[in-house]
Amino acid sequence: MFLEIRLHGRGGQGVVTASEMLAEAAILEGYHGQSIPYFGAERRGAPVVASARISDKPIRRHGQVYTPDTICVFDTMFVLRKDVREGLKEGGTAIVNHKKFPKIDKFRVYVVDATKIAVENGLMVAGWAVVNTAMVGATAKVLGIISKEVLESVVRRRWRGELGDRNLRATLRAFEEVRG
């Protein structure tokens, strides 16, 4: 197995953290995992990209992901942008933070209302919905190789106490609610 995932969001949404969580979760599941941020001038609200790889063999390469199997779109606004879909393999998967979303023939599209989940769990920073944990939950479900237990431990490592609770709730709810 060799899976390449690319995550698209905006500064403040926790895109890089999400890709790290996915890689970490895969590792805990016994796979090899890697998370690669693309680093630019990171401003709140500005486009951000990160990638992750999951494999059953050690991952040696270190470049960005150019032909993802899966893309994860944190922000509805971006869905229609060409660069977001660029390189996505035919038959690949798109997981989109949205209420509902048109089917696209070439890809399998999953949607999850991560913003709502984040808002309802109080995951807001300076007016921003921090949707990363929800998106991780949804992606984990779609990938099908990450268990809820592992998700929990990945969340708990990062956020202690009550904040951890809320993030965990968001993660698991998205895990449940994502639909394709």
Binding site: A41, G45, A126
Partner: protein, 304 residues
């Protein structure tokens, strides 16, 4: 020497074009926009590594409508000196040199070049926009970070006091030193105007407090409020120094008396970087402010 500019005095022309890469609510971007309105197109900017170098976005585009020479982090005032020499030699004395650097690039790694230029009294304007940390690299402490503030290299709060570059510049006895705050753009504009139009050649230095939403951890729309509170609580004093003496300016004029100052807590409590402070820390910082004013008020007496 105390003419204050009004909104009407500022040209409608923009010299930093919209669509740049500053964070939403960036006071540094705001101040630069104002500064270039005051100085106009015949200005060459020297910019070291800092948020302002990133704000310019990617080659081959730039938001800046004046020439900008990006230079290495430590070299701002030295590059300014070279530019001044060249312009004078070429007979272009109408063109101003504006060095525009962050607090890290001024109080820390650029201090030596600045001090050298001050001693040589190079004929230029130097603005330090002070967001009180290395913001471009993600909020590490600088010499100008205030005591107790959280940064990523002072996770339990900075132990040392803020280095005062304006006072250091005054010790250099250059013609003009002033402080300003981005929340009072007209005060800042007036000081720039004064610096620009001074009859004496030499280095004019303005130290501009520049609130930073992500670095100080407050919502973008609070930039002006935070800046105003910095002044109204007395944490940041607006003043000018020239001809050997100090003047308070703007709202600071009214704050000599302690009771007129807002409690420091008002300023600290709306910023995440002071979120870890306990009551006694707040009190200790309040004492710092009070002592600072006391010391400062004595200096006000001295005008040669």
């Amino acid at each position: 020497m105390s003419s204050v500019l009004t909104i009407k005095d500022l040209t409608e022309e923009e010299f930093t074009l919209p669509g740049n890469a500053a964070c939403p609510g960036c006071a540094a971007a705001l101040s630069l926009r104002i500064a270039l309105k005051v100085l106009g197109p015949k200005t060459i900017m020297i910019v070291p590594a800092s948020c302002i170098s990133v704000i310019q976005g990617y080659y081959p585009k730039t938001p800046c409508r004046v020439p900008v020479l990006n230079v290495a982090f430590a070299s701002t005032a030295a590059a300014g000196s070279g530019a001044v020499a060249a312009l004078e030699l070429k007979g272009k004395s109408g063109v101003k040199v504006l060095c525009w650097a962050g607090d890290g690039g001024t109080a820390d790694i650029g201090l030596q070049a600045l001090s050298g230029a001050a001693e040589r009294n190079e004929n230029m304007i130097y603005v330090c926009y002070d967001n009180e940390a290395y913001m471009n690299t993600g909020t590490q402490r600088s010499g100008a970070t205030p005591r107790a503030a959280f940064t990523t290299t002072t996770v339990t709060g900075k132990l040392e006091r803020k280095k005062s570059v304006p006072e250091i510049m005054i010790a250099h006895r250059i013609p003009y030193v002033a402080t300003a705050c981005a929340a009072f753009p007209l005060d800042f504009a007036s000081k720039l105007k004064r610096a620009e139009s001074m009859p004496v050649r030499g280095l004019k230095y303005i130290h501009l407090l520049s609130p930073c939403p992500p670095g100080w951890r407050f919502p973008a729309e609070k930039t002006v409020e935070v800046g105003k509170l910095a002044v109204m609580t007395g944490m940041w004093i607006l003043y000018e120094w020239y001809d050997g003496g100090y003047n308070l300016t703007g709202p600071s004029k009214a704050l000599l008396e302690k009771s007129r100052r807002r409690p420091l807590k008002d300023y600290l409590s709306i910023q995440g970087r002071f979120g870890h402070l306990k009551e006694e820390d707040l009190e200790s910082l309040q004492r710092d402010v009070d002592e600072h004013w006391e010391e400062f008020s004595k200096k006000l007496g001295i005008r040669a």
